[in-house]
Symmetry: C2
Subunit: 198 residues, 2 copies
Amino acid sequence: MSKGERTRAAILDQALAMTSTDGLTGLTIGTLADRLGMSKSGLFAHFGSKELLQAAVLERAADLFADTVVRPALAQPRGLPRVLALFENWIAWTMDPVLPGGCPIQAASIEFDDRPGPIQDLIVKQQEDMRRVVIGATRRAVEEGHLRTDLDVEQFAFEGISLCYGFTQSYRLLKNPKAEVWARTAVHGLVDRGRVRG
Amino acid sequence: MSKGERTRAAILDQALAMTSTDGLTGLTIGTLADRLGMSKSGLFAHFGSKELLQAAVLERAADLFADTVVRPALAQPRGLPRVLALFENWIAWTMDPVLPGGCPIQAASIEFDDRPGPIQDLIVKQQEDMRRVVIGATRRAVEEGHLRTDLDVEQFAFEGISLCYGFTQSYRLLKNPKAEVWARTAVHGLVDRGRVRG
DNA sequence: AAATAATACGAACGGTCGTACTATTGTCAA
DNA sequence: TTGACAATAGTACGACCGTTCGTATTATTT
């Protein structure tokens, strides 16, 4: 790993934290350089433009999300355990102090839902990837006989993802101490309702 | 209505649309003035600071939300019809072309969930007001005998609000044509599950 | 019609933004 | 150890930011 690669990784770590609290637009090259003790131009040279920096941050966020949420869930036995782990890990991810301001991708979703361009395209791709993961795990649970065969897996995924998103509001903005219980109760309810009878 | 009040209202209308797409931070006095064909300083004088402008925009958004979502729902007979109207109106509000970029309050929630200050305080107050409205209507539905007496109304509100929020993602960012059906199916399911047996 | 207040304007301020260029330093293979 | 190139710093730029100020214009009241 060359020196350039090392600094680039350090930049992205700091940029991720900054994006988490200030958003992709609030992420600023000058203050980012200050926090890293390096010059604006030196940092800038690593990416070539702010938009490319934003894209790199998003991809780093997605990697971290995959490592924290998706991969550990896929390590669970297929079927219900995996589906539940997906939601539980997602809830834990929202509370993870590594991201001081919450999931940067979720924030970016709202920030960029009216700004077409490469960044929006990337966010859409990431969100649909995640949707596919949830749908895939759910469909597996149906095949394993854990969930009803007549279950609408797309509807199921919509509700599960919505609950994870809603949790962010209650937990991060409203700081409601019951938020975590609500979210976990809700996803367990969702899963239970999909279970085969008996 | 004096001339000042008239321009102030016109400013807020335009500012609301701009906030809807660009967020409270992306809302900029210069371009806002341009769109209204007036000078930066003339516009500025109406509010005294950008923060006060942002606060005024949020209050205008809340008024509009109350007129579009809450008041029509309260016109429905108490109990289940009112609860359902609340969610249906909320879904319609998210699709309302009056807000070209979706609900400004929801966007501001994520934008400001890590920026303490008067704006964050205002947003928290608005969100908790809305939460209280949902909880109140739900509790009424219990009293009317439409919903189970052992229903956890806070849990119910969390799930309903989460679904409305999740709908924004699917509809505005991912532009999924099934989003509206998913959201309506989900809230109807939520309500049905709370119904008294038989 | 005169007096006063409300409203709007234009210009300018200090700052920060992203970006472009050039110069300097550091790294690492030959 | 040197030469080539990657990495970082330095400086400057035009554009825009929120804000202030003095002044002109327009409404409203007396």
